[in-house]
Symmetry: C2
Subunit: 222 residues, 2 copies
């Protein structure tokens, strides 16, 4: 699995990625404010490979998840850290506690690209399958966060087969993406979805259940 070394953490005073803002307002007469982060909308794609009757998901090391687990085990990890020092983590937890299973997904940040075009790009980059817009079925959209971020995520379903695979996927290493493509056999998928020893997003659980309700009954019998 992942080799994660030389871990160090520090407060972050300025970031290209985290863009905090404060909204002040009066709600039903009461003066309030709320701090939030600007984010991009995103797309997420449930991929089912009909050749091998499996779901195609991605697995990656997530620093935010890892640090939640570190804090759970070492509650003092964020204390005593000023903005100058950058202390190394002592006795770091194994990287696997920060590795999550997720649907193929990506943010919508390229001007002129539709949600569907963005979804096709992500399927190719992350999972190595060439799909067209006609291969996508829109499932629904929802808010991916409501407290800190408030962006909208649109969920698609894409059926693929082995002939559509053009590469191994894995994301864009030049952008620092290190993504592992994982196949979850259909027959084991609901057991996997509810097995809490595999850290995952709600999107995986929801979309697997959606498939079992909406697609599985129509699959050709083998």
């Amino acid at each position: 699995m992942e080799a994660i070394e030389e871990l160090a953490v520090q407060p972050c005073t300025s970031s290209l990625y985290l863009r905090p803002f404060r909204l002040s307002y009066r709600q039903n007469g009461t003066k309030k404010f709320w701090d939030f982060m600007r984010t991009h909308d995103s797309v997420s794609i449930l991929i089912f490979n009909t050749s091998r009757q499996c779901f195609v998901v991605v697995k990656q090391f997530r620093p935010a998840v890892y640090m939640c687990e570190v804090e759970r085990h070492q509650p003092q990890v964020f204390q005593n850290q000023d903005k100058e020092s950058f202390p190394s983590l002592e006795n770091p937890l194994p990287a696997v506690v920060g590795v999550t299973y997720e649907l193929c997904a990506g943010i919508v940040d390229k001007p002129g690209l539709s949600l569907e075009e963005t979804a096709c790009e992500e399927v190719l980059e992350e999972c190595g399958y060439r799909v067209s817009i006609a291969d996508l079925r829109r499932i629904t959209s929802y808010r991916s966060g409501v407290g800190v971020t408030g962006s909208r995520q649109t969920l698609f379903y894409a059926e693929v087969n082995d002939q559509m695979r053009t590469s191994g996927g894995g994301g864009q290493p030049e952008e620092g993406e290190l993504i592992e493509v994982v196949e979850i056999p259909l027959g084991e998928s609901m057991k996997f979805a509810y097995d809490e020893t595999f850290p995952k997003t709600m999107g995986v659980i929801f979309s697997f259940m959606w498939f079992h309700n909406n697609i599985a009954p129509k699959l050709p019998k083998k």
Copy 2:
């Protein structure tokens, strides 16, 4: 609905609520860093009222969601804002674009309170029903975010009836919570779940579907 007035936005340089950190590390030999936010784990509760055969959810104004919609309509809203000025929003959108439907939920931040105890407190505070730990069924847990935050959310199911209602709910006004309790009739719930004109979290859609798969078949016929 909500009266939201005197809206103004500014960059946020220091916040009690947003706590940004940077993790630096070496992954498979490559030096990397990731900016993330410290957050608390949370609980979320699907509430079904058997007396009236409806789901009980909450509805509230979410500044982060509102500002996403503002930026969609006025992409320049975050530009030209330095840290001193605090400009008012011109021609603000109606508050309703920032109002979302969500499951009853809360963060786990009280030392010594279990997930189940936290869930019972939230059901009482937000929705006005007195439930005991024995009334809760754990559905599963998952990561509520993997990019910016990495915290774990645990989802419970609670069956309530009119006799268990002790107040109107609505959250803690002294903490600035202004929450509206909303009932979604069972018969309309899946239509509601997939109606994208009602902004909502994935938790609502997922848990309604979970109920239809796991609880509805066992409900006494009326």
